[in-house]
Symmetry: none
Subunit: 194 residues, 4 copies
DNA sequence: TATGAATGAGGCTTCATTCAT
DNA sequence: GATGAATGAAGCCTCATTCAT
């Protein structure tokens, strides 16, 4: 009984606000999204936003930091199951694409958006960029990567993942990305392998 | 005499406006750039902008369409010199990277910015995306590309070019990109070749 | 038992609210003080304020009217003990300064603040202004005040009391004001005496 | 002709804005005055305020610093004509009261308002408080002031000037204050003289 | 023609007050 | 009765665009 009351007290409009903000930030960018937009889509008043966040900016940053931490941690775990480059690339790319298929909006906000608007905040958190760098560094130690600048290779892997997702959004590619994971990771392996 | 002075005034201000706008749009985005910003950096009054453009939006679009057309046309010519995938990739990537080295701001505005802010306008013009698509389609006809979805391959090539440039901007890669062109086009060829 | 707890709860919160409000109104002014400020400093919820007062304005007015009535009545009594101007001035000024020393915040709220924010309300209650006027009128009848406009003299006496207190707050004067009472009332007497 | 054009260019709404702001700040306080109030009374749009000032606060501070500097400098000069306490007090008080009669609103804003809202800004400028302090210090050196704390005496003189003006505003005193100057400065002299 | 003051719409944020729990 | 999330009305400020000079 008490529990229920507590529950219902907590029955806040926060989730609706978060979802509305995420969608709009992704669709139009943080700047172009107005607080009124968010409020309307969330079905609340504008003032309600400010019970949960001090500013629109803070809302955007919270959304970014919270979810990106979670996503990267998950991806880290998936990758660490394996110890060779080929399987790690597969795990990485499949993890990304599965996430894209499950919540395209969130993936777009976290990974595809360039986020000049978040400023330094976006550097505070582990990103797939760091994961890729780590994967390649370890692979190099084990002799699983051919000669060449690792940062350059990292840029290429990440560029591939991101642009494939963007093509999917624009409809230049169709269907679930998951079904493309093997082909993409195979391609990456082709240019990385010794 | 008056005429000449007026002429030269006009000659003198438009380029300043265009350059100022380009820089600011690239640095902060179109939305976040104010007309006052542009006027101040160009050394003209705010009102003066409206002698050349009907709106800030039009200025942004003009800038995009004009330069992108020109760049893509140049790149088209460079690529058409060759008739095989390997050399065409080299021409493409070297063209892009050389452009990046020569005018990073313009390259960023044309190719790296996602430009939600330009809306449909950004679809009106030939983009390197189309060039890559054409290169791959012809290569496929000539049996120079292995099996696999061409759109997917295209996404990957473009993703690589773009992300390498972005890494350069963030300082994760250093030096002129031109020096990386061979390594990058070689990598592309490795995963595209039959 | 429950009743007692509730009773004591009520007993406990109203004074906290009143004190918090008084302090904040004095520090920042009524306008600049938010209900959230008051609630936080009093350790209650914002909603709780509305159990005791219908509005922030009413709280401010209550605070003013209640305490000022009480203070002026006390001062009236102190002054009426005497029947000559000299001693009455001493009683008046010592009463004011002692009050200042004992509860500077309350004195400031009642006497030093100009209270545009209270509007007409602040005219509803007997103020030291009226007491001074009465003292001087009686003194005039008894030939204890020299020639001159009594209202002007009243303004001067009150101005002296108030400004000395303000100087104390700004630290331009130091120590308990009580120790200055004799010197100040003597000065007043000097310019009032025939 | 050119001159006229230049003049008319400068024919800005700034004076109207300054006057409207001054009046409203004096009537209702800075806080309680909205930018909309100011704009309406000045007959301009709200945005127009921001061409001349960065914020409402800056407008309030400018108004204060500019005019107070000017007023105090004038008063300084009037007082320095004399070299004895009696005449200096007369010059001081007559200067204040004449100013009050000429522009009551401005005098109120500069001298009568407590201006918690201006914060530290209000300490940046010479105030009649400093002038009075200087007058008394010199008089003490010349043996023209009786024993006693000079700061306390200063507080009393200023308190008298201010409160007389406030009584005039409330209508407790009537007529031009200038006509009261002699009586007031005489009273001050009575309690200051040895 | 060039300027920059002005406009007016709209953005972000605050806050007294209400109300469901 | 107490809580604090929510409301809705302002408040301050920004900015693309216009227009008198």
């Amino acid at each position: 009984m008490d529990l229920i009351m507590e529950e219902s007290k907590r029955d806040t409009k926060l989730p609706a606000i978060l979802r509305a903000a995420l969608e709009l930030f992704t669709e139009k960018g943080i700047y172009a999204t107005t607080t009124k937009d968010i409020a309307r889509r969330a079905g609340v008043s504008e003032g309600a936003l400010y019970r949960h966040f001090q500013s629109k900016q803070e809302l955007a940053e919270d959304l970014y930091l919270t979810h990106l931490s979670y996503f990267t941690a998950q991806l880290d775990r998936s990758v660490l199951v394996y110890d060779n480059l080929k399987e790690r690339l597969e795990a990485l790319i499949e993890g990304c694409f599965r996430f894209f298929d499950e919540d395209r909006t969130l993936f777009t906000y976290l990974i595809l958006s360039e986020h000049n608007e978040l400023g330094r905040t976006s550097r505070k958190v582990r990103h797939i960029r760091h994961l890729v760098r780590d994967i390649l560094a370890e692979a190099r130690e084990r002799g699983q990567v051919r000669e060449g600048d690792l940062e350059l290779f990292g840029a290429m892997v990440i560029g591939i993942i991101i642009r494939v997702a963007i093509f999917r959004i624009y409809g230049l590619i169709t269907g679930d990305l998951k079904t493309r994971a093997a082909e993409v990771s195979d391609s990456c392996y082709r240019f990385l392998a010794p």
